[in-house]
């Protein structure tokens, strides 16, 4: 399914995290958020070794593909050597992976795709037209709307125009519980980015999959 929910990443979704401290970060990829937190684990998982960047080196992005291993999820490459300031982006091309979560910790640093805190990105390619209202299920108050317009591809010219549109970026920035812009408008297949900074741990979820917010009793 092509569900807008950063807590369950699937085909068309990416989660990226920048690493700003030197050290070894151990992370886990799980099919649900029910496994113990990454900061509670000292063994297993996958390792990212973060070292100082030589002077004059530009920060890089490392892509990690999530695949189905023997009875569990796996990643490739399994080990990463990166520099401080680099970003790692997880994604999958396997439509049969129903949803995965990435969470890791090392030293005083931690990250979690289900509770995104700082210097991180979540992307979602919208597979079907409609209006998608989203909000943070973790209660930060961040919310917005994505309007996905339909279009029909009948000729190769239509297709080229559409593929050109797909390369155009659209995005929200979330900082400290606030999101901007309020809405974006795209076409089917286009990707929307959510850049998260200085937050307590947010997620991005289609409101249709959330229970209504509780009202304060008078």
């Amino acid at each position: 399914m092509n569900t807008l929910d950063s807590r369950f990443l699937s085909l068309g979704d990416c989660f990226g995290q920048k690493f700003s401290k030197v050290g070894v970060v151990r992370y886990f990829v799980t099919a649900s958020g029910l496994s113990p937190g990454a900061d509670k684990r000292s063994e297993g998982g996958y390792v990212i070794n973060v070292t100082d960047a030589p002077k004059g080196t530009e920060s890089q992005q490392h892509n990690v593909q999530v695949i189905r291993g023997e009875g569990k999820l796996a990643v490739t490459p399994a080990e990463l050597e990166i520099h401080v300031g680099d970003g790692v982006m997880w994604y999958t091309t396997d439509a049969k992976i129903a949803g995965f979560q990435v969470a890791g910790a090392g030293g005083a640093f931690g990250f979690d795709s289900a509770a995104i805190r700082d210097s991180a990105i979540y992307t979602h390619a919208f597979g079907a037209p409609g209006v998608y209202d989203w909000r943070d299920p973790n209660g930060s108050g961040a919310a917005g709307s994505v309007e996905v317009q339909s279009l029909t591809v009948k000729t190769s010219d239509d297709r080229d125009k559409w593929l050109g549109k797909l390369q155009q970026a659209a995005g929200f920035q979330i900082r400290d519980g606030k999101s901007s812009p309020a809405s974006v408008s795209i076409v089917t297949g286009q990707t929307v980015f959510w850049s998260v900074a200085e937050s307590a741990g947010v997620a991005v979820t289609d409101t249709r999959f959330l229970s209504p917010p509780l009202r304060a009793s008078k």
Binding site: M1, G12, G87, T93, I121, K154, L166, G189
Partner: protein
């Protein structure tokens, strides 16, 4: 010399046929067949109604325009990769991040279809009387395979398949822009020939050997039912039964019977 002679002209014989159609009820079968390039699994229910009879001596009953009322539940697997172009989400960059190019493998989708319509059949039947166990039957049995006419049902099923394809693949991410072209492409490869071929495959087993029973009575035939302790049932034994189509100034279905007390 028979003890009893009963005759029905074409009008009455048509009524007898219609009663036999009701008695036959609904028949069901399931199986597989070709739907153009696809293999379809189906379950089908069929009942018969209407039609007119022409009695042709010495022993042929022609039934014209008998309705074959059918309802189908069929499904076939559609590998979308056979119909849709390779598709990759392109790399997109913003906020200092770039998504990788992600190529989509289209799934194979099961297309379920429910459809019902009425076809028509015209063919020659033979009448014969048989003693089956302890019951006498007069059966009207099809000769060979009757001519089938599907009429507008062919286009109806084609439209139903188009709608079913659209509904069944709606969940597939990123398929929206290709949806109309997909349905058109699937219908094009199936075509009218694919529909008539499948309907023929489905309906032929129902009409092959089709038998309408226009007479069914026990060999020990109850003439008068029991009506009290001193009035038991009165019955006679049907010792012989025959049925033929007989010509005179009008053709008739003639039933002859011999009885014993």
């Amino acid at each position: 010399m028979p003890d009893i002679i009963a005759a029905a002209d074409q009008t009455a014989a048509t009524d007898l046929l219609h009663d036999a159609e009701v008695t036959l009820g609904t028949l069901s079968k399931s199986g597989g067949g070709s739907l153009g390039p696809f293999v379809a699994n189906y379950s089908a229910s069929v009942s018969f109604s209407g039609g007119t009879i022409d009695l042709n001596p010495p022993n042929v009953i022609q039934i014209t325009d008998c309705n074959i009322n059918y309802s189908l539940s069929l499904s076939f697997g559609l590998d979308l990769n056979d119909f849709l172009p390779d598709f990759c989400l392109p790399q997109v960059c913003i906020f200092g991040w770039c998504t990788p190019q992600i190529c989509v493998t289209w799934p194979t989708v099961t297309i379920p279809i429910s459809f019902g319509d009425t076809a028509r059949m015209t063919g020659d039947f033979t009448v014969n009387a048989v003693l089956s166990g302890s019951e006498w039957l007069i059966n009207v049995v099809v000769d060979g395979i009757p001519l089938l006419e599907f009429g507008a049902g062919t286009l109806g099923l084609l439209a139903a398949i188009g709608a079913a394809v659209t509904a069944a693949v709606g969940w597939v991410p990123f398929i929206g822009p290709f949806l109309a072209a997909l349905a058109d492409a699937v219908l094009a490869v199936i075509g009218i020939a694919g529909i008539t071929g499948l309907l023929g495959d489905i309906l032929t087993p129902f009409i092959s050997g089709l038998t309408f029973t226009v007479y069914k009575q026990p060999q020990l035939f109850p003439v008068i039912p029991a009506s009290g302790p001193t009035d038991p049932v009165v019955d006679v034994t049907i010792t012989a039964l025959g049925a033929v189509v007989q010509a005179s100034d009008k053709n008739e279905l003639v039933i002859t019977a011999s009885i014993s007390g």
